[in-house]
Symmetry: C2
Subunit: 284 residues, 2 copies
């Protein structure tokens, strides 16, 4: 999952390399499940609606352009493009292409320290029933496509994904097999994550610090804030007297849907308490 192509951590507004020393865990904790690179890629593609297409111009220059998409059940981007647009003409001539889809980045965050995925393969001009379902996939994000996809100068394309390159940020990346990408389940929690994270940080500071002290591995955690949530658990930013740290705490069971996110943390608290009270923390 890591590879040598990672840049040497250029730091930018507090990015890697410029922070204070990171505190080591105070005790060993069970490994916490995370999403696989294939799940990360599928989730990123599902959670965005636009990316950048690389197609081939008639003079042989790779041509970068913004496209909107919806994804099929296998995570294939569906584009609805005018044949009068340069990228539409390019794809008619040369079906090999790729799309990069990136997590939006806030001001002050290094754009290279965010998740993105490149999907490469061949674009197919679909028709018949395959066009109907492809247009539906696109129309989930852009309802008006149901109308204009049928115009004479518009074509519905599905990218048949042959190669997937996922980058999660600095030093988190990996090539994903196309079959694994197609088979992976997008994390169903992503639509609720922003709200759940705000809720945890606003109303459950005690629970967060408890998780950090027990399953998180930092028994001297003074505060903990939720940085990210996914179906398998939460990432915490921990402050200890020995310095800042990061911790990962897994849910007892993966969350199946966004509506489960609110309940899951409470289940997590129970488990963390039980673990703490059960004498397993013999280092205490």
């Amino acid at each position: 999952m890591t590879d040598a192509a990672s840049p040497p951590q250029p730091s930018f507004h507090g990015g890697p390399g410029s922070g204070p020393l990171v505190a080591a865990p105070s005790h060993e904790v069970p490994p916490a499940a995370t999403r696989s690179p294939a799940e990360e890629a599928r989730t990123l593609v599902d959670s965005q609606i636009a990316g950048s297409l690389a197609s081939l111009s008639d003079d042989g220059t790779p041509w970068a352009s913004i496209v909107t998409y919806g994804a099929t059940a296998k995570g294939e981007p569906v584009l609805v493009l005018s044949s009068m647009a340069e990228h539409g003409r390019n794809l008619q001539r040369e079906p090999r292409c790729s799309i990069v889809i990136a997590e939006p980045v806030e001001d002050g965050v290094d754009p290279l320290d965010r998740a993105r995925v490149t999907l490469a393969g061949r674009i197919v001009d679909v028709d018949g029933e395959e066009a109907d379902s492809a247009i539906e996939a696109h129309a989930e994000n852009f309802p008006h496509a149901r109308a204009y996809a049928r115009y004479g100068d518009f074509t519905t394309y599905v990218l048949k994904v042959e190669r997937v390159r996922w980058v999660g940020g600095f030093a988190r990346m990996g090539t994903v097999e196309a079959a694994d990408y197609a088979a992976a389940e997008p994390d169903p929690t992503w639509p609720g994550v922003a709200d759940a994270r705000a809720h945890l940080n606003a109303d459950h500071a005690d629970a967060l610090v408890l998780w950090a002290r027990t399953l998180g591995g930092y028994d001297d955690a003074a505060t903990a804030t939720c940085e990210a949530i996914d179906r398998y658990g939460v990432d915490l930013k921990v402050v200890t007297p020995r310095g800042p740290a990061s911790a990962r705490v897994a849910f007892a069971e993966p969350v199946a849907a966004p509506v489960g996110l609110r309940a899951a943390p409470l289940e997590r608290v129970t488990r963390a308490n039980a673990w703490d009270d059960g004498g397993l923390n013999s280092h205490h």
Copy 2:
């Protein structure tokens, strides 16, 4: 500036085509200056720090990837890439490439209704003095590049721009000549625009509605809000009893720097008042 490649206005959360009828101006107004497509393109490139590169993979597939950049005085993107990364290897093999740079988009806005520009040409692996100044251009956005650009596996590239395609949103687009792009001045006001716009809308509602009623062409404007500001003027969203409308009001003189933005609107008020009082509005 318009061309047939514009999609037929797919609407999305209130985009073109889904809104109420737009009111016509109540009186003719002088044409208001706007930025040229070349100025729009230069300003967009100057105001962003990342884009998507289209390079050519060894199997002939155009490869889309995220890159960070800084721009030279001629608006050429400077990239600092590892030769171990796929796009770095691609550029070593095939220097023809392009970069698309897009305005960030808020949730609920159609990603195709925002400004973006594709710069295409040949990437040049610079060295000597040209490398020094190129690295400085990149380092304006990413200061740590001064260190890692000198690492053995990193290369500093300048994109020699041969073709520019600017799209301002739905039905606003145009091909910009490379020489015009290189010669155009980026709008110096962009760093202050967000603050100036907030200031106008918060504290100068009376001035805005006055501009809308006079130089804006809507003498029945009930309210006006500032949608955008550039060195040449402001775009207003106007509400009239006859329906909503858009208006453009030019500054008396182009603004030379961000610090001028606060003063310019007051000058504008003076001129709008003078014009109103001077009997030019004979339709009243």
